[in-house]
């Protein structure tokens, strides 16, 4: 804890926390959002392709988007570490923060596997299960990350609400696709 307070009280941390400038804390948060948008966004679009959406998109050239994800990850990581430094004690004593980190590690591990085994070999298998698992990890990471701003009880409630919403949407999509498939065959 002493060690963490050292970071929290560093001059950079104090400037980021206390400066009234919009370029301090607000812009740091915005960079964390940019990193998230491009890392999670680009990798999720690639996952949708592996799940069979836009199956005409050739797999090999999609590899060119991995550097975008890497830069976005670097932006998220650096801005994330700075944000952590500002409130190290608060975040590191919060269970939901560890859920967020685990989910990110899960998603990045799958992403790395996909890059090596799907996007770097001729005629790969498309790994839809892994692509779905990565989307699930991202959904957990986004939810857990967002609710760090709330009391734990509200966080768990929100998580449950997200779970219910996702189940309803997936069931709805399944029913619609099935009924449209039935119409085509009839």
């Amino acid at each position: 804890m002493e060690f963490l307070s050292f970071f929290e009280n560093s001059s950079l941390a104090i400037w980021l926390r206390e400066s009234p400038s919009v370029l301090a804390y607000p812009t740091l948060l915005a960079f964390h959002t940019f990193g998230m948008a491009f890392l999670v966004g680009t990798s999720s679009a690639v996952a949708l392709r592996l799940l069979g959406i836009a199956s005409d998109v050739p797999l090999a050239p999609l590899r060119k988007f991995f550097p975008v994800m890497q830069i976005a990850f670097a932006v998220s990581l650096i801005s994330g570490l700075l944000l952590l430094m500002l409130d190290a004690v608060l975040f590191l004593t919060m269970p939901v923060f560890y859920i967020k980190l685990l989910a990110i590690v899960g998603a990045l591990t799958i992403l790395r596997f996909l890059r090596v085994r799907v996007f770097s070999v001729p005629a790969p298998s498309e790994e839809p299960v892994l692509a779905g698992a990565m989307l699930l990890c991202w959904m957990i990471a986004i939810t857990a990350g967002r609710v760090t701003a709330y009391a734990p009880f509200i966080g768990w409630q929100s998580g449950l609400a997200v779970l219910i919403l996702v189940c309803v949407l997936l069931t709805g999509r399944y029913v619609v696709l099935r009924s449209s498939a039935a119409k085509t065959s009839a």
Binding site: T42, P58, A60
Partner: protein, 172 residues
């Protein structure tokens, strides 16, 4: 102006929803982020391809991803309207007042509509057909590249000023 906006945008039913359920505001934020990710992911890949990244991808094949971007756009817009119409439940300031005094929210909306007009220009000017015809390895014309660049810049600006909304001047 402020009074008219308050009359139009202050919705007691949404305020009651946010007031009654403590999970409602964070849920709305999470859905807003999910939509943003779908929009930036699909539209970002499309725009970057037009700008010359991963040119081996035929543009027509990427168009099948765009309905997911439209879906993301729709859910961010709906959740954004819920934040606006129910904002009183969160900060006890009515939405018209926020819209009139929050410069960041105004800038966010400027770039949001700019992205919209850019998209209308893309479809009305024949650029969309020009883009669709770009096969593997084909380079987009400079006006199509301009569209793609403007689109990316606009969405990044929407995210930036969106993130700043809570720091907007509300003392007026």
């Amino acid at each position: 102006m402020e009074a008219l906006l308050n009359l139009l945008l202050k919705w007691p039913i949404v305020e009651t929803y946010f007031q009654t359920y403590s999970w409602a505001w964070p849920l709305n934020e999470i859905v807003h982020f999910t939509g943003l990710i779908l929009l930036i992911g699909t539209v970002g890949i499309y725009d970057l391809r037009l700008l010359g990244m991963a040119k081996d991808i035929p543009v027509a094949s990427l168009q099948r991803l765009l309905p997911w971007g439209v879906f993301g756009f729709t859910i961010t817009t709906i959740t954004g309207l819920l934040f606006t119409t129910g904002v009183y439940a969160n900060i006890q300031i009515p939405p018209g007042t926020v819209l009139v005094y929050d410069g960041y929210l105004q800038l966010k909306l400027v770039f949001y509509f700019l992205a919209g007009f850019n998209l209308i220009a893309f479809y009305r000017s024949g650029m969309s057909r020009e883009a669709e015809a770009l096969g593997p390895g084909a380079e987009a014309s400079s006006r199509v590249k301009t569209f793609a660049g403007v689109s990316l810049v606009c969405w990044i600006a929407v995210m930036y000023f969106g993130r700043l909304v809570v720091w907007g001047q509300l003392s007026g």
